[in-house]
Amino acid sequence: MKSKGEIWHLLRKDFLLEFRTGYAISGIFLYLFGTVYIVSRAFQQIKPESWNALFWIIILFASVNAVTKSFVQESNQRQLYFYSIANPIAIIISKIIYNILLLLALSFLTWGALSFMTIDPILKPDVFSLTLLLGSIGFSINFTFISAIAVKANNNATLMAILSFPLVIPVLLLLVKLTAISIGLVAQDITNDILLLLGIDLLLLAMTLILYPFLWRD
């Protein structure tokens, strides 16, 4: 299939660019470790409830930064070039996959760093890993799409936050709930929440795929 090849090439291009410059990833990781360090110094002792909240606040801001960066690194002329040779759907899918991988790495690193510097309250690592996966997918789709919008408005960072935070709240609420379950704060069956999260992810993905072709034409 042609678009499969396109997605693959675009992904490879994103990774190559990243490996060559290392600008975005190193910036984000520095940001991440800085935040985790400040948080663990500021909170001398962290309760599992606060750990849950802190974890997702760190992830939320790190993700917004990460995804916004991944879109600005290309100049308008280069974007025009991509659009002329590739299918818009392939472009957005490759961006989403790239961001999912980036956010997954980010989530697991935050988990590791926060556990290393404070505590590791997670009792059910399998549930938590699944939560991180679904969370990365949801965040990635949402933020990628919104950053595609924000890029048109001169990539206004405030606009990115204003547009994406309210939209990401349903996903975030479910993630916090699932994390509470995997910490053992709440004893509950997770099937419903996982399915709901998956449903929201799919809904956002479908909307992104339908709407993106209208966005890029400029």
């Binding site: 048109k152 309210p166 939209l167 709240i169 349903p170 419903n192 709901l196 449903g199």
Partner: protein
């Protein structure tokens, strides 16, 4: 004039909602009883406070019962009326109750020919000294609740806690439903814009979103007032309150997005894309998550707004016209707004030609 019938209809329906919704009295009800907790084997005197009731006027026809369940009830021994709003009832509570719980709640039923029947569920809690359902069966003197009177005239139902605030159904609930319909129109116009990029669709989407936002803010405010009177505070961090606040934020972001774009064609297209995305992202917010979580709102974990028994036919006579009224008024407001936009665009074009 013929073309504008719906505007007149909208105004009429809103006036109808305001007058009829506010003026029709509530059905008589019971607001409080004291004492509300008694022991078995006592003769107790219960003071009952009525609301909108005519105990004095209907003095001779008052009957009262304490109802255990649908078959079993005990009748009041004697009834003395103080005034229209208060009456004291004397009941003989038997030594034993025919139930095997220590504490049993009973429903108070009062009936007279002026007010009809009114009841207060779980009005009295009876604590049993010793539990013996069989003895309870033997000493039980059952009284039949029959030949209940009906209240004459048009009234709204009386519900405990809600009281007069039940009228807010015509504002809070119907504003909310009108808002959803207005956002659907805005959503449809955004889709139309993407299929066929005519500026008129953009003006419409913008105008309807603005009216929808207005309805949403009004719905939130009326809801907060209602919450203050029934739940005790304006904001209780109820799941629906939170989700509403979030959805209003999403639509406010729509206007911020519009104002940050300069090229009008680009603005229209991107705003349409965001509007569609936001509307679809709202579905889990307002329809899915509240159903899965506990809520103070009626109908949590199932129905969107409330159950069928919460609305009686008199209320329906105002509730449905209220929705249509708010909807038509908002359509009118939106229409004025997008016609302004059309005129603006035309003036600018004239300037260009000069």
């Amino acid at each position: 004039m013929v073309k504008h019938w719906w505007k007149a209809l909208g105004v009429l329906l809103v006036i109808y909602t305001l007058t009829v919704g506010m003026l029709i009295p509530l059905r008589p009800g019971i607001t409080a009883v004291s004492p509300s907790s008694v022991r078995t084997g006592e003769q107790i005197t219960i003071q009952v406070a009525g609301y909108n009731s005519n105990f004095k006027k209907a003095q001779d026809s008052i009957r009262a019962w304490l109802k255990l369940d649908n078959e079993r009830a005990i009748a009041a021994q004697s009834i003395s009326v103080k005034d229209d709003q208060s009456v004291s009832l004397i009941f003989d509570i038997p030594e034993y109750l025919p139930v095997d719980q220590r504490v049993q709640d009973m429903t108070l039923v009062i009936d007279n020919d002026a007010d009809g029947a009114s009841l207060l569920p779980s009005a009295v809690f009876v604590t049993q000294d010793s539990i013996d359902p069989e003895m309870g069966q033997q000493v039980w003197k059952n009284a039949d609740i029959s030949n209940l009177n009906d209240k004459k005239g048009i009234t709204f139902p009386f519900r405990n806690i809600l009281g007069e605030t039940i009228r807010n159904t015509y504002f809070h609930v119907s504003l909310w439903l009108a808002m959803v319909s207005i956002f659907i129109i805005s959503f449809a116009n955004s889709i139309n814009y993407l299929r066929d990029p005519l500026p008129i669709y953009d003006y419409k989407a913008k105008a309807y979103t603005r009216s929808g936002l207005l309805l949403g803010i009004l719905g939130l405010l009326t809801g907060a007032i209602w919450a203050k009177n029934t739940w005790g505070q304006y904001w209780s961090w109820d799941v629906k309150q939170n989700m509403t606040a979030v959805s209003l934020l999403i639509y406010m972001a729509y206007f911020i997005l519009r104002s940050s774009l300069t090229d009008s064609e680009q603005k229209a297209r991107i705003a349409a894309v965001y509007n569609i995305f936001a509307f679809v992202a709202l579905i889990p917010l307002i329809y899915v998550i509240p159903r899965l979580t506990d809520s103070l709102h009626p109908g949590a974990g199932g129905n969107i707004t409330f159950g069928s028994q919460d609305l009686d036919n008199t209320m329906r006579m105002v509730f449905y016209p209220a929705i249509i009224g708010w909807f038509l008024i908002s359509v009118w407001i939106s229409k004025l707004q997008y016609r302004m936009d059309i005129i603006h665009a035309r003036i600018w074009n004239l300037d260009d030609e000069d």
